[in-house]
């Protein structure tokens, strides 16, 4: 993925570019095959209704996976994202009312809570020099506890659901385009832009490829690290806001599986846990593979038990393929 502006001849630069894209091409090819299988296996798969449903189901995962991509690219990890989704959902129940002004407040709180958790993660990783896994495992626990606490407090004060009008803001459509689709495409585009076209994006890749070299060459590695955790937290907060709008409720356990799911998606998409390798385009393919696969199995009425098994096998096989390619290249 390292596009060096100082390459000696255009041929090496192009072949290098192609080499970098091989993993992404492979994963998109797998996705295309999967889509063909799904449409052959069930004639309900390629219907607008079903595709819209898949999109709506994948929006939260996509948002979280984008943040997770930033973190994994720096060789970090964020296990706390699921708890953030849950906490934001429970908070929204208390904040969102019929008055549209409260919706703005809700959005600010959602993103703010996400940013705050991300900041705590980032500070702990950079200042305490503790491994990201342990830091975010700890915040996973704390934030999950807070979500349960908020939920318990709400149970005493009745209400418990979010007004339908708020849900329609996120689940309706803007002209012919469904809003969930916009919520996937716009953040994807922006994050790809940030990663490919800004100095910050290049620092993220550099940091993940070789932290020591990056620090020694004078980059503020700690600031970059802090930023990726804040980005991940904010995206999780956004996902929590969307999930609350879609379900019109605040379930304190709704995000439980999303951390590992997002890591699965990002890794399927070719981002290495060692950092420095992968792209947003790959992450999108990873998310879509998970979504199409589980949708297809649901349409075929395959019980969820097999889906767990399949997902595990898929994850391991994908990583094995990447590991093999890495060694050959």
């Amino acid at each position: 993925m390292t596009s060096t502006p100082l390459s000696h001849s255009p041929t090496t630069s192009r072949s290098r570019w192609l080499k970098g894209q091989r993993d992404v091409l492979l994963i998109w090819a797998i996705l295309v095959v999967l889509v063909i299988i799904a449409s052959l296996a069930s004639d309900r798969f390629l219907t607008p209704f079903n595709l819209e449903r898949v999109t709506a189901q994948l929006t939260a995962l996509t948002l979280v996976a984008i943040g997770q991509t930033f973190v994994l690219l720096t060789a970090g990890i964020d296990l706390s994202v699921g708890s953030v989704v849950s906490l934001v959902g429970t908070l929204m129940v208390g904040i969102i009312t019929d008055a549209p002004e409260s919706w703005l407040l809700g959005a600010v709180v959602a993103l703010g809570v996400g940013a705050l958790v991300g900041l705590v993660n980032g500070l702990a990783v950079t200042r305490l020099r503790v491994s990201p896994f342990m830091v975010t495992l700890a915040t996973l626990s704390v934030v999950q506890g807070l979500a349960l606490l908020v939920f318990d407090l709400q149970r005493d004060s009745a209400s418990g659901s979010i007004t339908r009008a708020f849900g329609e803001v996120f689940t309706g459509s803007l002209g012919p385009v469904p809003i969930p689709l916009l919520l996937i495409v716009v953040p994807l585009f922006l994050s790809a832009l940030v990663l490919r076209q800004t100095p910050f994006g290049r620092h993220v890749y550099a940091l993940g490829s070789n932290e020591n070299a990056t620090r020694l060459s004078g980059m503020a590695t700690d600031r970059v690290k802090l930023m990726v955790y804040v980005i991940s937290g904010v995206m999780a907060g956004f996902a929590g806001l969307y999930t609350a709008a879609r379900t019109l409720s605040g379930n304190p356990l709704i995000g439980e599986s999303i951390a590992f799911e997002s890591i699965t998606a990002v890794v399927l998409g070719g981002v290495s846990l060692m950092g420095g390798r992968g792209s947003i385009l790959g992450t999108l393919a990873g998310v879509l593979i998970i979504g199409v696969l589980s949708n297809m199995l649901n349409l075929l009425r395959v019980p969820s038990d097999y889906q767990y098994v399949l997902r595990g096998v898929l994850l391991v096989v994908a990583v094995m393929l990447y590991a093999r390619r890495g060694r050959l290249a």
Binding site: L137, A138, G145, F260, V309
Partner: protein, 324 residues
């Protein structure tokens, strides 16, 4: 820990020169927790109730010892929660209250646990999948298998002769589960500190490359570490089902997070290269005392999660500071 700065912190100096320096920090934390428990709820701190905590902590302690072995080698086992569940539902369903089935089923379940662990090891060692992904994938696969096997609703129960080892007492005071734990802990302690396996494991965790270059068979030792973790996780599931009496599908996250937390609180760094069985058991007991303090304070699940997270963070931060 060997050098000390004479200018600062008189108490710390005193500690570093006293025989107490050989006691692991987690033991002080554990004693402190017991004192807090005694203050919060004198009844819970009575010897009989403290012994009871050992009984309740038995299953987690077995799993955590396995996790510690893998973590010492610099790895991680995210599949332990699912292995506990699979062992748990398989044992309940296959035994179905028949006393004569206990021994063959226990052996079978332990074998399956060891095989799952070895499969993790093969993925990590031979196929070069990172431990995180290999064991996360295995976690999905094994949980799916447990769901398939139980049909989503665990059936069967455990006969009295097996339940005794989970919740019975020897001579009416010593919990049978504590005896099981003690035996396993002794074997694990022997393996880690009195055999070449233990020394090689530590060497791999401290520096894989150097260990390899000094002739350690990194592959074989790592494989064995994951095998032991799978074996101990299934043993933990068996002890759990013997304690509860019926199968459950709900405990995976508690065992996964609990085993990592106990190892880290007990002094095994996430990066590996260090760690003791005694520290991990103290870590488990620390968690158990913490839970009963929170119960005494009538703090629900939310308080438990928050306290757990803060303590993990504090533990890793303190150990990180001690290292530098």
């Amino acid at each position: 820990m060997t050098s000390f700065t004479p200018t600062t912190n008189g108490i710390l100096d005193l500690y570093r020169r006293s025989p107490l320096r050989h006691v692991q920090p987690v033991v002080f934390a554990l004693v402190g927790m017991v004192i807090v428990l005694a203050l919060v709820s004198p009844r819970s701190a009575e010897p009989a109730n403290l012994i009871n905590l050992v009984r309740q902590g038995g299953p987690l302690a077995l799993v955590a010892i396995g996790q510690t072995i893998v973590m010492i080698s610099g790895g991680l086992d995210l599949s332990v929660g699912s292995v506990v569940i699979l062992a748990d539902v398989m044992a309940a369903q296959m035994i179905s209250g028949q006393e004569e089935r206990v021994i063959p089923v226990v052996l079978l379940v332990l074998g399956i646990g060891a095989l799952i662990g070895l499969a993790n090891g093969v993925l990590v060692v031979l196929l070069r999948v990172t431990p995180f992904i290999a064991t996360l994938g295995m976690n999905f696969v094994v949980f799916g298998a447990a769901l398939l096997y139980s049909g989503g609703a665990p059936r069967g129960d455990i006969p009295p002769n097996m339940r005794f080892w989970g919740n019975g007492f020897i001579a009416e005071v010593i919990p049978a589960a504590a005896v099981v734990l003690l035996l396993v802990a002794l074997v694990a302690w022997f393996l880690l500190s009195r055999t070449t396996f233990g020394r090689r494991l530590t060497a791999i965790g401290a520096n894989r490359r150097v260990a390899y270059l000094s002739g350690v068979s990194v592959r074989r030792v790592t494989l064995l570490a994951y095998g032991l973790s799978g074996l101990l996780a299934s043993a933990g599931g068996l002890l759990l089902v013997a304690f509860v009496g019926v199968g459950t599908l709900e405990v995976g996250t508690d065992f996964l997070l609990g085993s990592i937390a106990a190892s880290v609180i007990g002094g095994t760094p996430f990066e590996g290269g260090k760690g003791t069985v005694g520290g991990t058991i103290a870590g488990v007991l620390f968690l158990m005392v913490l839970y009963s303090i929170l119960t005494a304070l009538a703090l629900p699940v939310s308080g438990r999660r928050i306290a757990e997270g803060l303590i993990i963070l504090a533990a890793v931060a303190l150990y990180a500071r001690a290292r530098t």
